[in-house]
Symmetry: C2
């Protein structure tokens, strides 16, 4: 039919729109049909029908007429008729969305069977057992999916039947057994179904199509889409095909295969099959499938034909394929071809191999690897072969696996680590007091906090594994132990966490060490040739700087100086300084801190010789360096109870309370503090200048940039600049600013007049632009916003392009207008997020900066953004 | 000289730029010279010389050559010569900025005198006493201003001399006395001066010019400029004039006058004079000046001439003038004419009278009154005649004066007020728990918090007088009393506060009740004819709404619903609701609250019949309704000590802690809460719809608009809209949103598609755009930023046009682009600020909304903005 609206035949490939209209499965079938490969006859109901169904709740008008028309042609082609008691046509009804969502939606096989037709099937195939096996499968699937009968009732009935017959396997049930089972199934449906079981196969088909559409909107599929950011509006297509039967005896089979190993990327076909079975048996795990190679012995012809087909499909599709096939009485039918899912390691190997085989270009190879997946290759992983006892799940906050004895305080972490023990720091949540403990620990586990909580951000920066927001974890307020999933644990017990997927496991678990492969190196080399964005790293310590450089960082985009003040002796001096009530004590503390700062800088400058290092002057509010006032109050109470003096604690409490703010995020920090108490910034400037001179004398080439945080008013930067230049001397260092306040974006033109560079601090900028506190929002409402679809993405993970992005573009335009030489970068967490990197590339920034382990992914993402842009530009308008 | 650069003669009026170049005093002298009025010969050194001096620290090159040239002409004109021992020329050196800054800068009179010339002056005038009186005045002024000799030393020397001579008044000192006084003054200068006293009058002049420029940059002038927002870059001009002498005996005099009464605006000249005196004597208060009328008897000719001159000047300048004159031997000289400063009441009367006299147009009359001044006319004021004992000063947070017995808690305020007592609530700072007490009190006094603190904002909203940030106030932590300026006070003691100027006074002080005059009404009527912006009021209670309407409000722009939940019984139910852990308790609490809400709305709708009322659904985070967790912890400890149960308190504490946020400003509130817990918003929607129906049946015309707070994502408003429409039924009420997040500005186009109106919440918007917490910033750094000039204006008082304003304009443009019918208003504090109102007018908004007492000022400011725009448009480009 020329005016077909909702239904497409396999040979009616709509071209460009095939994937969107017909889904991945449909498009694959069309492609295979086009190649002349054996595909059972059928047709595709488009995603458009699904979106109409979502809007109205009913199948769109005209759809079923089109379907019936197609069905008539199918009957003609197969010589069978729908509902014919002699020679019935059976069909499969499968979902197939434009994006692969394996196992998330429903499928109904063997549709068309009923009381009247099952006999005909037995007669026409000469196999009664097969006919009743197919029928019971149909009742089970249709009952569960369409009529909402609880699936376990059918499973239990099968088990009972096997017990009664004293057999182990389903295949041992005889035709009469299955006939009786069908009766029992019918009884279950009669009792449990929300509607009668329709005998009319057309009615069956109509209900099954609706049920597949419903499953697109089901909780399981919706959760999957949220997880992978797939829009609900895509909808799913439905493929209706003549049934071919892998369960027609020992010359029939069904199987799945990958054209290369999806775990390692090794060349050569990789798959499994079952003789005398339908597809669901392979997946369901009731029978153990056999390695594909063994099929050569049982079905040599079909096997050879399949091998050739698989090779041809990989060549045609130019990617590793995930195939489904059925062999009906020694005849091969292809049911699916699609790009196969693969591990990060396999993705790299396959991309590189295919480029070297000449199947794809190097640019395409670069585009084939998911940037976010590289991170996992750089950390120890849980051995995929290991037996695990999973105790709980939290958020995968910082990748890598870690095993260690549990400690509950930063001090204990330090003490045990110094004694050579591997420890895991377990806290309700972390704060700056815990940083020292985090350094000492192998990994961090917290009960509260999201992907962007203090624990998560700091751990990622350190490259330590972390699991946060583990709801099943209840840490004692007094700190002697914790409950995990109802079980009690004490300090010293051993746990393992996997920061890549959020699992928390009992005891010690074998880990696999990372080893960046040659494939990894090759793909990144190709990526570097393609990209325009420079990739720097955020690093605060020489060791981090060295690692970042090894991972390809082209400089440091953010060297925070506050972490330098948060360890041991330094923290003590810093506190002394803050608590000092006279200028003399302040100067004294600064005199002690200055050489330490200088030494930090020297180490970093050495590690980054010849590459730019952006040093951010002190940013956080002073109270972050003091003990929490509640802890102090508790300590005072305890000391008093012991009859000890509390004068010092009271002094600290007084100062800490004086520094408290209702909204510290909007408070006295960054350059505000620098302007009100310039002594600290001046000390830092001296330390930078002196460190640069020292290393230069040793042949190192320091390229330092000084960054002022939290500038909102041009006058702030102007004053800071004047103040610092005096102290930096004639070093001629570039001075720039973080752009992290909406106001800074609005007045970027004026700020750029006194800035050598802007570095977008997109974490804080997102907080201010959206009015969302990262520390609080995740548990309070952000997760609910994401769950219910008010937000599609977490703006702290992927840059909010409509909101924050608009201000970033505004700042770029205004800034470059008054200062064409303005260097522009990003140093927020978004600098490591592929989608955000694509935006930064399009916006014309110069560099992104991210935590060291995200550098390879960022290099790849930047290359992909540049390649996609080029390919768009090549397209005719 | 045609190529003169820095110096202007009185007849060389540069036209347009006169005020900027020659200052107010210089421009006035030029004008008087142009009118042929008697002005002593002289010339003006322009502000340009001053700005050059500020840049380099030296008088600009060529200036003194020009000055000397002018001086030569002055010698020619007067027939006297600078430094001539026989017949010396004396000059005055006065400052004169483009903006009047009375008394803020320095003046040197009698310049040109010295050891060699004083005798000549005596001889040429035949008055030795006069000559030495002039000389000692010169030494004193030059010593103090140029040579930095402490002024009190001279005063003490005069006092000592009078004691020695046994006389009371300066005028009783004889010529020989003054001669000896000159010697003593010379001794003081020799001991104390930072340089020798120059005998050369040219050197004197050069130094004096520099000193006047220095005084522009002095602390006193800088503080004044900050207070009135005058830019430092203006600079001051310097006027050099031949001295005329009011101290040449009994036919000489000096005086100051206003052409109308500056306190009341009454017609008729109003001034003071002194016979035989120089100008400084009138101001210094050493001798008591006499009413100007009495001059008619002593100097009838000069008096008549002065009256005619004054009248002519008022006619010519078309405003009430502030005049200075000197009579030298019966001959009148005019030294100054400028627009006179006046009270708000006088400004209204003068403007109206002048318009009715035909001197100015009605439009000009509207432009003549300062909008911010109107507020003070609407509140009781401290009787200006009263004797006061001022105990301390705080910030003038909410205008009006209030007297009452001091109370220290909201509960005590309520109890005593119910018993009929007038009370003043004194707190360290206020929070929502205190609102009930604020309602009950006559006024509020706090130790902490700025002009935009909770206490200030709430008090202004209520129209209650408030003094905040009173540093001298130390409230006992336990609440039994307080110290004020070192003195102890207890609950029940009586104090008076003046919220218009921040004074705190002992005891009861007589107050003057406000009575809006006919002038007030007339000017505002004229203003209403001129303005384009609609002015609404922020009001939460029927009484406020009625008052707002009386003051000219054209609707309610912001009816907050949270205050409705903060009183007595309602607060208790609200807390029950928040603490309720099951849905049943929640529903029960809402059922109790709904009729109360309905009643509130009915009262407001009645008061505003026929005018729009924008109801904002619940905005604050829930923890604002709970007791502070620290207070709860304290209560638990106290109850435990008394052996009482603490289960309920512990439950409250647990919930309160669960609701705590690190940055509540960026937290779970507004529509976020509305989406997570829709029950409250739905209850409010029902109450609104029902109240509207009820009052409509009673003949009232309710025009309700429903406003959703804190929308940042279009999907939030979309969902809220759908949710509410169901509950509002077919009332067809407009639904709109606050625009208070930067993101809302960036995506205003998308939000406008689902909004009927935007109301800019500029308070919160300023906090987010600038990243400044209003609650914390004022004391932590904003005051220091303003003091040191990093900021010129407090962005919470006057809209930050460069930053926040840019986003407001963006939101307007994007919003109107997708929804041309979008109504646009402002409901932040800035809606009552004249400068901000001008911006909102220019930006093309529809209305502003402010607290009821600011409505008249807003009407006036809106009119002025419209009139100024028209006059700009009339100007040729």
């Amino acid at each position: 039919m020329a005016d077909s609206k909702f239904v497409y035949g396999f040979s009616e490939d709509p071209g460009e729109g095939a994937l969107a209209l017909c889904g991945g499965k449909g498009a694959g079938l069309m492609r295979m049909r086009g190649l002349g490969l054996p595909v059972p006859e059928g047709f595709i109901i488009s995603t458009e029908a699904c979106t109409r169904y979502m809007e109205s709740g009913d199948l769109p008008e005209g759809l079923m007429a089109e379907v019936m028309d197609r069905l008539a042609r199918l009957e003609e082609a197969t010589g069978r008729r729908f509902g014919d008691p002699e020679n019935p046509l059976l069909v499969s009804v499968r979902s197939g969305a434009p994006v692969s969502m394996p196992g998330m939606m429903d499928t109904v096989l063997n549709l068309g069977l009923g009381e009247r037709t099952v006999g005909g099937l037995a007669k026409s195939t000469g196999d009664e057992r097969f006919a009743y096996d197919s029928y019971r499968r149909f009742i089970q699937a249709f009952g569960e999916i369409v009529l909402k009968v609880p699936g376990h009732l059918f499973e239990e009935a099968i088990e009972e039947m096997k017990r009664e017959r004293g057999v182990e396997a389903d295949t041992e049930l005889t035709a009469p057994d299955l006939r009786e089972l069908v009766e029992r199934f019918e009884g279950i449906v009669a009792r449990e179904a929300n509607a009668g079981f329709p005998e009319d196969p057309k009615e069956q088909l109509e209900l099954a199509i609706g049920a597949v559409f419903d499953s697109w909107m089901g909780e399981r599929a919706a959760a999957y889409r949220r997880e992978y950011g797939i829009p609900e509006t895509l909808g799913t297509a439905v493929t209706v095909q003549r049934m071919v039967f892998g369960n027609m005896g020992e010359t029939s089979a069904t199987g799945v295969a990958f054209t290369r190993d999806p775990a390692t990327g090794e060349q050569g076909i990789f798959g499994e099959f079952l003789l005398n079975a339908q597809g669901e048996d392979v997946v369901a795990g009731i029978r153990t499938p056999r390695p594909l190679g063994e099929m050569e012995r049982d079905l040599p012809n079909a096997y050879q034909q399949f091998l050739q087909t698989a090779e041809r499909l990989e060549q045609e599709m130019r990617d590793m394929q995930d195939l489904e096939f059925t062999i009906e009485r020694d005849r091969l039918y292809m049911l699916q071809t699609r790009s196969g899912k693969r591990t990060a390691a396999a993705a790299l190997k396959i991309a590189r191999d295919m480029a070297e085989e000449g199947l794809i270009s190097r640019e395409e190879a670069v585009l084939r690897v998911e940037p976010a997946s590289l991170d996992q290759l750089l950390h120890p992983r849980v051995d995929p072969e290991a037996d695990l006892e999973i105790l709980a799940h939290g958020l995968p906050a910082s990748p890598g696996a870690a095993t260690g004895k549990v400690v509950l305080t930063a001090a204990e972490a330090r003490d045990r680590a110094e004694a050579g023990e591997a420890v895991l720091l377990v806290r309700r949540e972390t704060n700056p007091d815990d940083v020292e403990g985090m350094f000492a620990a192998e990994g961090v586990l917290t009960a509260l906090g999201g992907m962007t909580s203090h624990a998560a951000v700091v751990a990622r920066g350190m490259g330590k594994p972390a699991v946060t927001g583990c709801g099943a974890l209840k840490v004692d307020p007094m700190g002697s132990g914790f409950e995990l999933g109802g079980e009690r644990f004490e300090a010293g017990d051993v746990l393992t966490i996997d920061g890549a997927d959020g699992r928390v496991m009992r005891g010690s678990v074998p880990l696999v060490e990372p080893e960046p492969s040659e494939d990894f190196e090759a793909i990144l080399r190709w990526a570097d040739e393609a990209r325009a964005l420079v990739v720097r790293a955020n690093a605060d310590a020489p060791e981090d700087a060295r690692r970042a450089r090894e991972l390809g960082a082209q400089g440091i985009g953010l060297c925070r100086t506050e972490h330098m003040f948060m360890e041991g002796e330094r923290l003590r001096i810093m506190r002394e300084m803050i608590l000092s009530e006279d200028d003399e004590a302040l100067r004294e503390a600064l005199t002690l801190l200055e050489p330490m700062q200088r030494e930090d800088f020297e180490g970093i400058f050495r590690a980054m010789s010849g590459l730019p290092v952006t040093v951010r002057l002190l940013d956080p509010p002073l109270h972050e360096f003091l003990p929490d006032s509640k802890d102090l109050a508790k300590e005072i109470a305890e000391r008093e109870a012991r009859g000890e003096g509390t004068e010092e604690q009271r002094r600290q409490l007084r100062v800490a309370e004086g520094l408290e703010e209702r909204n510290p995020m909007l408070g006295l920090r960054g350059c505000r503090l620098g302007l009100l108490r310039p002594e600290v910034y001046l000390m830092q400037a001296r330390a930078i200048a002196q460190a640069a001179r020292t290393v230069r004398e040793a042949g190192v080439e320091p390229l330092v940039e000084v960054m002022i945080p939290l500038v909102g008013f041009p006058s702030e930067l102007e004053r800071m600049r004047t103040l610092l230049l005096a102290e930096l001397g004639n070093e001629g260092l570039p001075i720039g600013t973080m752009i992290e306040l909406p106001r800074a974006c609005a007045v970027a033109g004026e700020i750029a007049e006194v800035a050598d560079f802007f570095s977008f601090g997109t974490n804080d900028l997102t907080q201010m632009v959206c009015g969302i506190s990262r520390d609080d929002a995740e548990e309070k409402f952000l997760s609910e916003y994401l769950r219910s679809g008010i937000l599609r993405e977490n703006p702290f993970e992927t840059l909010d392009q409509d909101g924050v992005g608009r201000l970033v573009r505004m700042a770029r335009e205004l800034g470059r207008a008054t200062n064409p030489h303005l260097k522009l970068g990003v140093c927020g967490e978004h600098g490591g997020d592929p989608k955000s990197i694509a935006f930064f590339h399009e916006t014309g920034l110069d560099y992104v900066s991210c935590s060291p382990f995200r550098v390879p992914g960022a290099r790849l993402a930047a290359a992909q953004a540049a390649l996609r842009e080029r390919s768009t530009m090549r397209q005719p308008a």
